[in-house]
């Protein structure tokens, strides 16, 4: 996949996030680093930076000295504690570097309780292990962790930088990318480089030559879960039972997480051709359901409230 093929391997390859990269280079030179907290939107180089820094720091065998965990995939803080313990128990003998690096992605999705536990783990293993926590928002990271980390705020890439990256990859892959196609990719993904590159690759697969805006939009049409739209439409028509079947299919057959479904529902509802006041009412319902999901509510039960509310909206309009 092109996102990996063109991921910068070492800090010198990185052309954006220059301030952060130069700080990271200092850490490499000093052979020492604090705990790190990387925050910023998706696809702008947070994971790439830490991986590149690790490679510069440890050399080609860097994989032995890092452990990547994704908070949204790990079941519970105890699992994390065990993994960290096993990882940090053996000291790194990588020349003059005496610590390993644990990379925790989506750290901001950990519950407050889990973060407090994580803070304890960080303290216990500081001698042998540095933590690099990655997340979208620093607000979701508890203060005690923030105060123990150097915080790096990653800024979204500028439009010009993003477009330059995409064009470069397109020409290396021999894809003729038309100006309108490039524009459409940027519009769809803004500064999210991962999303841009994935879109480019899919568009190139569909239309080998001359990728234009139509090719890009056709991809977007095919991947934006049409089933979510079906569910909304059935709901508005008052077909609750059928809409619920679609919901089940999204959860089970497609394997989508409740929070992804609700995110798509929200953006689709705003696009609906319904009275504005109903958008506000539905947004309120979605907000309530989103909160109940965060509290641990069962995905299917909670999301079907939305379907019932859509049916109500459809009847009143």
């Amino acid at each position: 996949m092109w996102t990996e093929k063109y991921r910068p391997q070492v800090l010198d390859d990185m052309v954006n996030q220059t301030d952060i990269v130069s700080r990271l280079k200092t850490f490499v030179k000093e052979r020492s680093l604090p705990h790190l907290l990387f925050v910023g939107p998706a696809g702008i180089g947070k994971t790439t930076s830490i991986l590149a820094m690790a490679r510069d720091l440890y050399g080609p065998g860097y994989r032995n000295y890092i452990l990547e965990l994704n908070a949204s995939d790990e079941r519970g803080i105890d699992v994390i504690r065990d993994k960290v313990k096993n990882f940090a128990r053996t000291a790194a003998i990588a020349g003059d570097v005496s610590f390993k690096i644990l990379i925790m992605d989506e750290a901001d999705s950990l519950t407050t309780a889990a973060q407090h536990a994580l803070r304890r783990i960080m303290e216990i293993y500081t001698g042998t292990c540095r933590f690099c926590l990655i997340g979208n928002y620093s607000e979701n990271i508890i203060d005690p962790i923030q105060s123990r980390c150097s915080i790096f705020r990653f800024r979204p890439l500028s439009e010009a930088d993003t477009k330059e990256w995409i064009s470069t990859i397109a020409s290396k892959e021999g894809v003729q990318l038309l100006e309108k196609g490039l524009e459409a990719i940027y519009e769809a993904s803004k500064g999210d480089l991962r999303k841009s590159i994935n879109l480019l690759q899919a568009a190139a697969a569909v239309q080998g030559s001359a990728v234009d805006d139509i090719a890009v939009y056709s991809i977007l049409g095919r991947v934006s879960p049409r089933k979510v739209r079906d569910m909304i439409d059935l709901g508005l028509k008052g077909e609750f039972v059928e809409a619920r079947e679609v919901l089940r299919s999204l959860l089970v057959d497609e394997g989508l997480a409740a929070k992804d479904i609700i995110r798509i529902v929200y953006s689709e509802v705003l696009k609906l051709n319904i009275p504005e006041i109903w958008k506000v009412r539905l947004s309120d319902t979605i907000g309530e359901i989103d909160y109940r999901l965060i509290q641990g509510g069962t995905a299917e039960i909670q999301l079907s409230v939305l379907v019932a509310k859509l049916a109500l909206a459809g009847e009143k309009i």
């Binding site: 996949m1 949204s72 992605d105 989506e106 989508l256």
Partner: protein
């Protein structure tokens, strides 16, 4: 005497079976019709409440008529292939080597899914050269939706609860054989409280009488403060027609399934019962809040909070009815989500292992992979085989995983 009494006193002959004379006669006539070659309906479908003698009829009849009975249990996974491997030969040959005739019994059909099992059984029936008996414990008056494929190819034989007088008579016979004395009013209580489920009547008798020779109401009092359980559809019927919170609430303790299961039954059937949109929205919202109360009780480990869940899932649902018309449901649907999970097991396993590999190589979460990457990859697999091949190699995908990507 260590055997449970309900199996010790299980009827061995047709005469010992209490009640359901008409059903038994129907089955006898149907079996007799096989003597002139396979009749139009090659299967007999016995359905009715539990503990009334459905299985007993079949085993007794088979013994009586000299059939060798081949029993297939519902706990087996029933695909056409497995079924054929299991009983394939016996359904095509009418006689065993010793000249005995064969009969096949599928018991506990209520536990079989439509796609996995019912269809496989239906196709077996169409080819069968021997009598096939199907048994399902069903509580509703009418057919469960999933048995549709069996509807036209089987003779329907309905069992009903054993009448009070016959339960009582059977109890007296058993008490006589055990040589114990049980007061008449205790026997009446036992016969009455199980509502025609003779097996559980005998279980109740054993519970109070084992190890004793003389039973009075005093010994039986242990039973009286416990309400006889409602079968799920009865419980649902009571719940959906309740007019007060306390009536609705009672269903939690009277239903014979755990409250979590009851919750799922309510959720499944609510939209069929509440046909007014705002009633339904209110009812579903009550379930949603019930769900949250449950989570809070679990999280805090303070189960005083569970009563709020019960109030919402019973009263909240029952009292949501304002403008909905009364509907006479032909049957209640069993919770469907479980079946969907079972049906899609292979596909979900494929997706999971692919997602995990992509997540590792692309340094993102599997959740993101499923939501963002896989849909794009599926486009690529459909449109550009050579690019797809490269990706398959890079991800080290197995053949079945590649097939999944293409589907």
């Amino acid at each position: 005497m260590s055997q449970p009494w309900s199996s010790l006193f299980r009827p061995c002959t047709l005469k010992e079976i209490a009640g359901n004379e008409k059903a038994i006669r129907q089955l006898q006539i149907w079996l007799k019709s096989w003597e002139g070659g396979a009749p139009k309906q090659r299967a007999a479908f016995l359905y009715g409440p539990p503990g009334v003698g459905k299985t007993c009829t079949v085993t007794a009849l088979a013994a009586d008529q000299g059939y060798e009975l081949i029993e297939v249990n519902a706990s087996d996974r029933r695909t056409k292939k497995r079924l054929n491997a299991l009983i394939g030969r016996s359904i095509h040959q009418r006689d065993t080597i010793t000249g005995k005739r064969r009969m096949v019994l599928f018991d506990e059909l209520e536990g079989v899914s439509e796609h996995g099992g019912v269809r496989a059984i239906a196709s077996i029936i169409k080819e069968a050269e021997v009598p096939i008996v199907l048994i399902a414990t069903s509580i509703g008056e009418r057919w469960e939706d999933k048995f549709r494929p069996l509807k036209d190819i089987s003779l329907h034989i309905k069992y009903t609860a054993v009448p009070f007088s016959q339960s009582l008579a059977r109890l007296k016979v058993i008490v006589g054989e055990l040589e114990i004395h049980v007061d008449e009013d205790v026997l009446e209580l036992l016969a009455n409280r199980s509502r025609g489920d003779l097996r559980s009547t005998i279980n109740d008798l054993e519970a109070i009488a084992r190890g004793r020779t003389r039973i009075t109401m005093a010994e039986a009092s242990v039973l009286t403060d416990r309400d006889r359980n409602d079968y799920t559809p009865d419980a649902l019927m009571k719940l959906f027609s309740a007019k007060t919170l306390s009536d609705a609430r009672r269903v939690i303790s009277s239903a014979h399934i755990p409250y979590d299961d009851l919750f799922n039954w309510i959720y499944e059937n609510l939209p069929l019962v509440l046909n007014d949109t705002s009633d339904l929205a209110e009812g579903i919202d009550a379930l949603s809040r019930a769900d949250i109360h449950k989570i809070r009780a679990r999280r805090t480990q303070d189960y005083r909070l569970i009563k709020y869940m019960f109030d919402e899932m019973t009263g909240g649902v029952a009292l949501a009815r304002r403008s909905s018309e009364e509907v006479d449901l032909p049957y209640f649907r069993s919770p469907q989500l479980v079946w969907r999970y079972r049906r899609t097991w292979h596909s979900r396993r494929c997706r999971k292992s692919i997602a995990k590999r992509i997540a590792e190589r692309c340094h993102i979460s599997t959740r993101e992979v499923v939501a963002e990457i896989i849909p794009l990859l599926k486009v690529i697999y459909e449109e550009d085989p050579s690019m797809a091949e490269g990706i398959s190699r890079w991800l080290d995908l197995e053949d079945k995983e590649i097939k999944w990507m293409r589907s």
